[in-house]
Symmetry: C2
C-alpha cells in the first residue's frame, strides 16, 4: 500500500493509521508508541505515515481529534424554557452509560498522563473534548444562577472544574462504576453543584 | 557497585535506584522506562536492581511510595475547637505552594495516566497519597456538617471528589497556576464545598 509522491491521499489508509495510532496510544502512551508500530498495525508502509505526518506526536494529535465522534455527546443546546433540572435529567442516562466505557477511561487517563510531557496532546484534547462540554455546563450554570437556584456570586469556572473534575477523578479511581452507579454518582455531583433540585 | 548474592542490602544503592526509577517514570511513563535504564541512571548494575525487585512495575511502585515524603503534607489532625474555616486558612498557603511544583504535576499526570494500563501503580498512589488526604478533608467536612455550615444530607464522598477532583483537574490543565493563583483557586474551591465562610 505504498503511494507515489504527489498521488492524492488515500482516505482509507488515513483512517487505518489514525485508528492504529489511537489504539497504541491508549494501550501504551506516547513513549510506548512509534511510527513503525503505527504503520505495522495499520497495515501500511512507514513512508505512507511519514508522507502525511512528520512525527508520532502529530499522528497522535490527529488520532485524538478524529476520535471525537466516538465520545459522549455534549448536551443539546439549551431549548428555551425547559427547567435546568429537567434538562440535566434528560442527559444523565447517556452520560452515565458513556462513563462506564473502558475506552473513555483509557483516553482520559492517557491524555492527562501525557499532560506534563506532551502538552500539545492535552491542548488538542482540551479544544475538541473539554471546551465544548465546559460551554454546555456553563450555559446550565448561568441559567441556574439567573433562576436563583445558584448563588449570584458563584464562581462558574471553579464550579465547572468541581463538576467535571469530580467525574474525571472518579473515572480514574480503582473500582470502576457500573451504569447504575455512574448515574447515581452524576446525580449527586449535579445536585451538589446546584443543577438538580433536592430529592 | 555489584553485590554478591546474600550480602546485606545497600541502602544507598536502593535509594539511588528508587530516585532514578521515579525520575524516569515522571519523564517517560511506564512504557518508556526499562530496568536497564533504571540501573544505568542509578549507577548500579542491572543485577543489583533485579536482586531487589523482579519487575520495573515493582520498582516503580516502591519509588512512588518512597516519594511520599516529598509531597505536600496533609493538614494537621483536627485540633479541638478551632473553627473549620480557620483550620482551612492555616493550611492554604503551603498547599498552594505545593500545587505549583512541576514535580507534583508530573506525578499526578503519570499516575493517572497509567491508571488504565497499570492499576497497581494507581493503587499504590491511592493508598499512600490520596487516602490520607481524603481522610483529612472528610474530618473537616464532618465538622462543618456538625456545625451546621454544611447541609445535613451532603454526600461527603462526592464532595471530597469534587474538591480533590477540581484541584487535580486544574493542576493538569494547560496554563499552570502561580502561587497566588493557586491560593485564590483553593479558596474558591473550599468556599464552594462549604469549608470556608463567605468573604
Amino acid at each position: 500500500m505504498t503511494r507515489a509522491r504527489g498521488r492524492p491521499r488515500d482516505p482509507e489508509a488515513d483512517r487505518a493509521i489514525l485508528r492504529a495510532a489511537l489504539e497504541l496510544f491508549l494501550e501504551r502512551g506516547v513513549a510506548g508508541t512509534s511510527m513503525e508500530q503505527i504503520a505495522k498495525r495499520a497495515g501500511v508502509g512507514k513512508l505512507t505515515v511519514y508522507r502525511r505526518w512528520d512525527s508520532k506526536e502529530a499522528v497522535l494529535a490527529a488520532a485524538i481529534e478524529s476520535a471525537r465522534d466516538e465520545m459522549p455527546e455534549t448536551a443539546p443546546p439549551d431549548p428555551g424554557d425547559v427547567p435546568v433540572p429537567t434538562l440535566v435529567r434528560q442527559t444523565l442516562p447517556d452520560l452515565a452509560e458513556a462513563l462506564t466505557a473502558p475506552r473513555l477511561r483509557a483516553m482520559v487517563a492517557r491524555v492527562f498522563g501525557e499532560s506534563a510531557s506532551h502538552p500539545e496532546l492535552m491542548a488538542t484534547y482540551w479544544e475538541h473534548y473539554v471546551v465544548p462540554r465546559r460551554r454546555t455546563v456553563r450555559a446550565l450554570l448561568e441559567r441556574a444562577r439567573a433562576e436563583g437556584t445558584l448563588a449570584a456570586d458563584a464562581d462558574l469556572d471553579v464550579l465547572i472544574d468541581m463538576l467535571v473534575g469530580a467525574v474525571l477523578f472518579r473515572l480514574l479511581q480503582p473500582e470502576p462504576l457500573d451504569a447504575a452507579g455512574a448515574r447515581a454518582y452524576l446525580e449527586s455531583v449535579y445536585r451538589h453543584a446546584g443543577l438538580l433540585d433536592e430529592r
